[in-house]
């Protein structure tokens, strides 16, 4: 118990520090310099209505590339760790209720459409590649729940993921030659503000990010699902 009381003391010390920080904090009353630059110049330079999108895709595009790489590594490590159990056959099928199958047949195209809408309109409305990808992956969960018997091909997901990753990097490199730098979005014309095909390459890049994130997340779920089906 002496160990626990020492730990409690440490936590209490941290709580005191946090209380100190909280009482010293007095709220923001204006943007700092970087944010001010993004808010004023972001429109004329990038042309996206959603400032978060312009920060994620264009100004901090390299971070987004690294982040997508981390997700890819996670999916790859998971597939590597559970590789050995793939060769066995699935012995018995789980019985799914009629209600779930019918409902998922109605809902699946709608969910896919919503996901695609979210990541294509990422530069105009709240949303974007990550959110759309997550919606696509949740559609994948519904598909796995309803049709337990059918095999979903790993190869299709891998193909989508590889193609969109390569296209993302290629668009970035194209930005070096045609515009200001890596992942610069003005390789296409900026277009009129507020339309679907505006803001240069942002809709294209964000769609590829959405496809890639959706494929990776559903790959993770698929690997976990298949290993649990095999171990009967």
């Amino acid at each position: 118990m002496i160990r626990n009381s020492i730990l409690l003391l440490i936590i209490a010390g941290l709580a005191f520090i946090f209380y100190h920080e909280l009482s010293a904090y007095h709220g923001n009353d204006g943007l700092n310099e970087t944010a001010n630059y993004y808010a004023t110049k972001g429109l004329s330079e990038v042309g996206a209505a959603n400032l978060v999108t312009s920060v994620v895709v264009t100004y901090r595009g390299l971070d987004t590339l690294g982040e997508v790489t981390i997700l890819f590594l996670t999916a790859a490590i998971l597939a590597l760790m559970f590789k050995t159990s793939h060769s066995q056959k699935e012995t018995q099928k789980r019985i799914t209720s009629e209600l779930l199958i019918t409902a998922s047949n109605v809902l699946l195209p709608v969910i896919f459409l919503v996901g695609i809408y979210i990541f294509i309109n990422g530069h105009l409305t709240p949303g974007g590649g990550f959110q759309g990808g997550a919606v696509l992956a949740s559609a994948m969960v519904l598909m796995l729940l309803s049709i337990s018997g059918r095999k979903i091909k790993h190869a299709v997901l891998d193909f989508i993921e590889a193609i969109s990753g390569i296209a993302f990097v290629l668009l970035g490199i194209l930005g070096i030659f045609l515009a200001g730098g890596f992942l610069d979005n003005s390789i296409f014309s900026l277009g009129t503000f507020g339309e679907l095909f505006s803001a240069g390459a942002i809709p294209v890049i964000y769609s590829f990010i959405g496809l890639k994130v959706g494929a990776e997340l559903s790959n993770i779920i698929l690997v976990l699902n298949q290993t649990q089906n095999v171990e009967k």
Partner: protein, 123 residues
């Protein structure tokens, strides 16, 4: 009252959640409980970051409708922490999946989730 606005309440909740999660990591013995505590800490840090970027009486950083192009800098909140948290959430789910799969492998090997049973890394 200064302390009853949205950003103070959310920062306070974030700090409390962070302390609870830390206590959970230190005191729990079950590996899955430790992973749950990690995800609580994730959520709390995102909450603190977003609420630090909040500015009173301003709207979301989307230039549309009431927010005009000219004085956007006077009307929107800080977009940088929001973009940061956006990527951090996605990375968080990847890390959680990775930790869970390692826990699964450990359980397959040793048939136990209690962290006290694992003696091989003790010195």
């Amino acid at each position: 009252m200064k302390y009853f606005s949205v950003e103070y309440i959310s920062i306070f909740a974030g700090f409390i959640l962070l302390l609870i999660g830390l206590w959970g990591i230190i005191s729990q013995k079950n590996i899955l409980k430790i992973i749950i505590s990690f995800s609580i800490i994730d959520t709390s840090i995102h909450l603190i970051l977003v609420s630090v970027g909040y500015i009173k009486n301003r709207t979301a950083p989307i230039i549309d409708g009431p927010v005009t192009r000219a004085d956007a800098a006077q009307q929107v909140t800080d977009p940088v922490p929001q973009a940061l948290v956006l990527t951090a959430i996605v990375i968080g789910v990847g890390i959680t999946a990775l930790m869970l799969s390692y826990a699964l492998k450990l359980y397959e090997k040793n048939k136990s989730l209690e962290i006290d049973k694992y003696k091989s890394l003790k010195w």
